[in-house]
Amino acid sequence: MEESYFDKIEQDIKKEHTFFVDFGFDFAKQVKYVLSIHPTIKTQKDLAIAMGKRESEISKMLTGLHNLTLESISKMCGVLDYDLILTDIKAQHKYNSHLVSVGAAESHNYYILNINITVQVYNVLPAGTVGGLDFLNEYLHSSFMQPIAISSDGRQILS
């Protein structure tokens, strides 16, 4: 059977190709989303005015004909007042901020886990139960009755 070049060329796709395509695609989606929820900057034209640029320049920035620089990304974040790039580390801080401190004892800070603003209640698990966030996430969708407290690293049920 003849070798398929459709398959052969797929094997030549490198990480740099996928990152290039995915980043540009994700970034433009993010900007489109922010424009849809922004109170005043709704279109690329509005964004151009806010950034003091021509609409064609903004269009080029978002379509890759013009290299996106750190400076231009930062300026865009500034006028939109929105962080367009969320790294793993920033995400951890952003979502950990939902942990609300309810007290401290010994060397632990106790928290109730806030998910989507409302407090989720869970069955009390035995004190000393240890697990990762994945382990705790198993309980997020169940209907439980009592709150739990977990340690500040999210790994141990405290009470």
Partner: protein, 180 residues
């Protein structure tokens, strides 16, 4: 050994006499690859050993100047197949049919290649052939015009076929035949 369809094209172009060849070459759809959201098919002439999309990628693979663009275009086929589906917003409009790569507003890069195709539905896309577009419109570009015309002809015929499918699979594949 050149395939039957390229010989026909050669004779048609090189002959100084007006040829009135009435040769019936038939083509079928063949499955190329199935992804999560899209099953890709291509056109294969009965006398050819390769489908049209395979001929396209073979030509691109063997041209050092076009290979890198072809790899990037190929990744779009995978991305649309796995993550996006046959959404016309992610394809170029080419009269009756469509083309890869996605419009520049989505791809964010300039790719000069055109791979003509036809979106049957969100789960089925037929891939044709194409080339490096060096002129506008496609009908006047020496590299792609015959691929463009073939794409229009095949799309017109495929639209008239009664395709039965189940998600990303054409279930009556062997019954579908049309003129190359």
């Amino acid at each position: 050994m050149p395939d039957c369809t390229s010989l026909l094209y050669f004779w048609g172009r090189k002959s100084t006499k007006k040829l009135n060849l009435k040769v019936n070459i038939f083509a079928t759809l063949v499955e190329v690859k199935r992804y999560v959201l899209v099953g890709y098919y291509s056109v294969k002439a009965e006398c050819n050993s390769r489908s049209e999309v395979d001929v396209f990628f073979k030509r691109m693979y063997e041209d050092p100047e076009l290979k890198d663009e072809a790899i990037r275009l190929r990744y779009w086929i995978t991305k649309i197949g796995n993550e996006i589906g046959g959404d016309p917003d992610y394809f170029r409009d080419e009269r009756l049919c469509n083309a890869f790569p996605p419009p520049i507003e989505i791809s964010h890069e300039y790719i000069g290649l055109r791979l003509y195709c036809y979106i049957i539905n969100e789960n089925l896309v037929v891939l044709y052939n194409g080339g490096k577009k060096i002129g506008n419109p496609a009908e006047k570009c020496p590299n792609v015009k015959h691929h463009f015309y073939n794409a229009q002809s095949w799309t017109k015929q495929i639209r008239e076929l009664e395709i039965e499918s189940n998600g990303t699979i054409i279930t009556n594949l062997k019954e579908l035949e049309f003129r190359y």
